[in-house]
């Protein structure tokens, strides 16, 4: 994460920051960018049964300039890696990345000694905010990933879950 300039360390507008974070959290527009199997589950999450729209995150923008969240849904291989990196660079700050599925996290089932094609985790290319494991992850997992991301932005969880009392 050190690659990004964290402006909040330099200038801090306490309340405004909080309000903006809330706005960002409730309006995460993902990039229309599917790679492999996980993309189908990503689509399924946007569909009627799970409806990503409830969280304001159904506005899939095809242009990286208008997207806030890049969901790496699938395997990134060495031929694709420069393109993925370029897409990440084209997105405007503030931007977030979700590694959806084992392939995006670590290369998943395609990693073995001597493999020649797969990038072993997109965090080798750019910082990743949320990791959602699964092969492919279920739509619930993707929604949980979005909620985790919101928690990361606002510091509060949208649907609080029970925690063990210390």
């Amino acid at each position: 994460m050190e690659t990004q300039v964290d402006t909040s360390k330099i200038v801090k507008f306490a309340k405004l920051e909080d309000v903006l974070a809330l706005g960002r959290a409730y309006s995460l527009w993902p990039l229309t960018f599917g790679l492999a199997c996980c993309a189908i589950e990503m689509m399924a999450t946007g569909m009627a049964r799970w409806d990503l729209a409830r969280f304001g995150a159904e506005v899939f923008r095809p242009s990286p300039r208008q997207a806030d969240l890049m969901i790496i849904a699938g395997t990134v291989n060495k031929k694709m890696a420069p393109a993925v990196k370029l897409l990440y660079d084209q997105m405007l700050e503030p931007k977030w990345v979700m590694a959806l599925g084992n392939c995006a996290i670590s290369g998943g089932p395609f990693v073995y000694p001597g493999q020649y094609a797969v990038v072993e985790g997109v965090d080798q290319l750019f910082p990743v905010d949320v990791y959602v494991p699964g092969c492919p992850p279920r739509p619930e997992a993707l929604i949980e990933g979005i909620l985790k991301l919101e928690e990361k932005m606002t510091g509060k969880r949208r649907f609080p879950v029970a925690k063990l009392q210390k």
Binding site: L22, A25, R54, E58, R65, D68, E93
Partner: protein
């Protein structure tokens, strides 16, 4: 107190107040029509739509706008900076000015212009220029294709639209929008869309209305004619390279254009602020009727969008040049001939 009232009646002050009102109206509409569209799309697709931000999702527009405002402002390298920055301004200003001439009620009109219709149509065409600038300046091939499409599409659909409006003008005899509305007083069969049928001024008036509506969809680049932003073909069309609020302005302008287009349709064909049932009219009911008609039309626009696939580009042009223009020309001639006949008699 008296001086305050006299201040209010001063023309510049009144105009200023109206402009503030129009800006608020536009802002409110752009924000909540987006939400309405997302909700309506959700309902049509058997899902709830945005409902987590605020009660039932009513805070969603604030979240979106807040986020868009706080996005990084970037001018991509290699763009034509002047045009790139000018385009969002040019796309937003004309529909705002158009609303000056639109009568929301009998007296609720910013400027009761004699040539209101002319103003609306001349400013409405600037929209094309803005998208052309945006597409050309963006240094992106998709944007350039989109710009070319927008121009040819708008030119093609301006013609039948103007022919249709000429037909209306021949029967009404005025370009004052408020005057056009006043002529449609009475029950709903006095509206222009129906009156031509039974007064035999132009029996094809309902067809004309349909043509006007189709042209309005095409002029505002809405589905099924959304060639400028054909997502599956041209990524995001003319505003592929716009992010943050630059893109937000295009988004707002799209909905403002819809508001202008639908209010024109309501004024020209559906009796504007006139009550459909003869009673319940007046300075309070008038604007309500107008808004009801406006939002019913806007709902239809959204309904169409979430029902039909996109037309193919050449099919779109063929529809205009081969079908709409001949029909609208025919209705124009027909109402001209009928008018001449009635005058001779």
């Amino acid at each position: 107190m008296n001086s305050l009232l006299s201040l209010l009646s001063l023309e510049p002050v009144r105009l200023l107040l109206y402009l503030v009102g129009i800006c608020a109206f536009v802002g409110f509409n752009a924000a909540y029509l987006v939400l309405a569209e997302r909700k309506i799309a959700g309902r049509m697709q058997r899902r709830p739509g945005p409902n987590e931000a605020g009660l039932g999702g009513w805070m969603q527009p604030f979240a979106d706008v807040g986020k868009l405002f706080a996005k990084q402002i970037m001018i991509p390298p290699g763009v034509d900076v002047l045009l790139y920055c000018l385009a969002p301004l040019m796309v937003m200003a004309p529909p705002l000015i158009c609303l000056v001439a639109v009568p929301f009620g009998d007296t609720l009109v910013a400027r009761d212009l004699n040539l209101g219709l002319l103003l609306v149509f001349s400013l409405g065409s600037v929209n094309v220029m803005a998208l052309l600038f945006a597409g050309w300046a963006s240094r992106n091939k998709y944007s350039i294709i989109s710009a070319a499409r927008v121009v040819s599409q708008n030119v093609a659909y301006e013609i039948p639209m103007l022919l249709v409006v000429l037909t209306i003008l021949m029967t009404t005899g005025t370009m004052n929008l408020n005057e056009i509305v006043r002529q449609q007083a009475g029950w709903f069969w006095h509206w222009n869309v129906f009156r031509g049928v039974w007064t035999l001024a132009n029996p094809l008036m309902p067809v004309t209305f349909v043509i006007f509506f189709i042209c309005m969809l095409a002029e505002t680049n809405r589905a099924p004619f959304d060639m400028a932003e054909a997502e599956s073909e041209l990524v995001a069309g003319a505003f592929t390279e716009y992010g943050g609020m630059g893109f937000g302005v295009f988004f707002m302008a799209e909905y403002t254009n819809i508001v202008v287009g639908c209010s024109l349709a309501a004024v020209l064909f559906l009796g504007g602020w006139q009550s459909p049932i003869g009673v319940l009219s007046g300075p309070v009911w008038g604007p309500l009727w107008f808004l009801a008609k406006l939002y019913a039309l806007i709902f239809t626009v959204m309904w169409v969008r979430w029902t039909f696939p996109r037309t193919q580009f050449y099919g779109l042009l063929n529809l205009s040049w081969k079908i709409l223009i001949p029909i609208s020309l025919f209705t124009l001639l027909l109402s001209g001939a009928l008018l001449t006949l009635t005058h001779l008699r």
